[in-house]
């Protein structure tokens, strides 16, 4: 069974936010909400400075706290690609999952249920890449099976230096940022 994940090359990313627009269009994300976003982190002191631009979203964690805290099973790990998904008809809007996510990746849809990135599972099931990956003009985003050593994401992770976000939170994030 696949374990889908994402690799973002921060050296290539220019922060154009095409991924954000593509996600909003593809998934009809309500106005004022975002399933993915651009984070910019500047570190160091002049002249020894460094800038990292990241396209961020739900990390589809291996140990997702949003799933374990959900009182109804609305948040669940889908067998297909072991992706973390939400069933709106089961969600009561208690917001425990929003509070449990160290990445603050979730939000409340105007209709009342919790919402977040699905890794465009409807596209992936059709053999397509997630919308954000497909439209990236810098080709900095890559999607695939992290358990397949021959996949593009696995080869990139094996050949380049990178990091996940907040690994110390212990949730096992599946998005990696190449540096």
């Amino acid at each position: 069974m696949a374990r889908f994940g994402m690799v973002v090359d921060t050296v290539r990313c220019v922060g154009c936010a095409d991924c954000v627009v593509a996600c909003m269009t593809e998934n009809e994300v309500p106005e004022g909400r975002a399933r993915d976003w651009i984070a910019t982190e500047a570190t160091g002191s002049f002249p020894d400075t460094r800038l990292e631009i990241r396209s961020e979203r739900c990390n589809h964690c291996d140990q997702p706290p949003c799933v374990s805290c959900c009182p109804t099973g609305a948040s669940h790990v889908e067998p297909f690609g072991r992706l973390v998904q939400i069933t709106p008809e089961l969600c009561i809007g208690c917001k425990a999952c929003l509070a449990s996510c160290p990445y603050d990746a979730r939000f409340i849809h105007p209709r009342g249920y919790a919402d977040k990135c699905t890794f465009c599972v409807h596209r992936v099931k059709d053999g397509l890449a997630p919308a954000c990956v497909a439209v990236c003009p810098a080709r900095c985003m890559h999607f695939g099976d992290l358990d397949d050593p021959h996949s593009e994401v696995s080869r990139l992770l094996a050949s380049r230096r990178g990091h996940a976000l907040l690994p110390e939170a212990g949730t096992g994030p599946r998005i990696f940022f190449l540096t």
Binding site: G32, A42, P71
Partner: protein, 312 residues
């Protein structure tokens, strides 16, 4: 130097999490209060204190039911997807404290109703003779009385601890990430309930007993609050930063002046003097305890949401 910017601006999430407003602190406070009332009701039944004239047991279970319903109403008001609330009772999620809480709350009602039936108030006895007969039959069975007493004690304890575990299970918020929160909220719930019974009791012996008990609960709260802060300050950098929210940060005044000073230390002093017969019992101390119990939840819920693992 680190400078962090994000294009994300999701409501309730950015710039810092604020998903829970007044409803959840009120729900946690009322849940803790009912937990304490159940523990007191169970204890009174076991000690036969319900047979005394003017015993608090004549109104305590009924008040518990009303407060529990008010707490659940607050919880319901907080939900964003209200028509689907019934989904809480279509599954049991063993890893979810909220699911445990939902089912515990369902078990709490029959336990309180049992206590109410045992100690049926005079007005209900007159209005419903059949209920009065059932109450008399139940009261004649010692095993039934003990079962209802223990059900109230055990479920009260579980409910009180649950109100803290609900938050402490959310590891993404470092301030809540403490196993002490469960016992702390239980002690606070017991203290609030003792203060409420002390405040309303018609039997002076009930008031005196509960004032003494409340002093013990307030001292336990001080110890648990100290352990809570020590636990955070001796943990990771993010936990130390979270503790800073009440140690010099924006919640310092509310925590130390409101919760610790006016909500614990002052009523403890007043009640210690009162039970030592140096001053008269007044409603001041119990009212301060009740206000402090509510403020404790308000501060912990609000400050916890501000605390985070990621960039500040």
């Amino acid at each position: 130097m680190i400078e962090f910017t994000s294009t994300r601006a999701n409501p309730l999430v950015d710039p810092s999490l604020h998903v829970w407003g007044w409803e959840i602190p009120v729900y946690l406070f009322l849940g803790g209060l009912v937990a304490g009332l159940m523990a007191i009701a169970g204890w009174f039944l076991l000690m036969d204190r319900d047979r005394r004239a003017g015993s608090a047991m004549s109104w305590l279970p009924g008040l518990g039911l009303a407060l529990l319903s008010a707490g659940m109403l607050a919880l319901f008001l907080d939900l964003e997807h209200k028509p689907y609330v019934w989904r809480l009772y279509t599954s049991f999620q063993i890893a979810s404290p909220m699911s445990w809480g939902a089912w515990i709350l369902l078990a709490v009602y029959p336990a309180l109703l049992g206590a109410l039936l045992l100690c049926l108030p005079g007005s209900l006895r007159q209005a419903f003779p059949a209920l009065a007969a059932l109450s008399d039959r139940l009261r004649a069975r010692v095993q039934a009385v003990r079962a209802i007493a223990w059900a109230n004690l055990v479920l009260g304890g579980l409910l009180g601890i649950y109100t803290g575990v609900l938050l402490s299970a959310l590891g993404a918020r470092p301030l809540w990430n403490s196993a002490v929160l469960g016992p702390l909220f239980l002690a606070s719930g017991l203290s609030s309930a003792a203060a409420l019974v002390h405040l309303v009791a018609r039997d002076p012996a009930d008031g005196e007993l509960l004032a003494r008990a409340d002093n013990g609960f307030l001292q336990a709260e001080i110890v648990l609050l100290a352990l809570f802060l020590i636990g955070l300050l001796t943990a990771t950098r993010v936990h130390v930063r979270a503790a800073g929210l009440v140690l010099g940060g924006p919640f310092t005044a509310a925590f130390w002046v409101g919760v610790v000073g006016a909500g614990i230390a002052l009523p403890l002093l007043l009640q210690s003097l009162a039970v030592g017969h140096r001053i008269r019992h007044t409603p001041v101390a119990p009212l301060l305890v009740l206000g402090g119990g509510l403020l404790l939840r308000v501060v912990i819920v609000a400050a916890g949401q501000v605390s985070r693992w990621g960039p500040v």
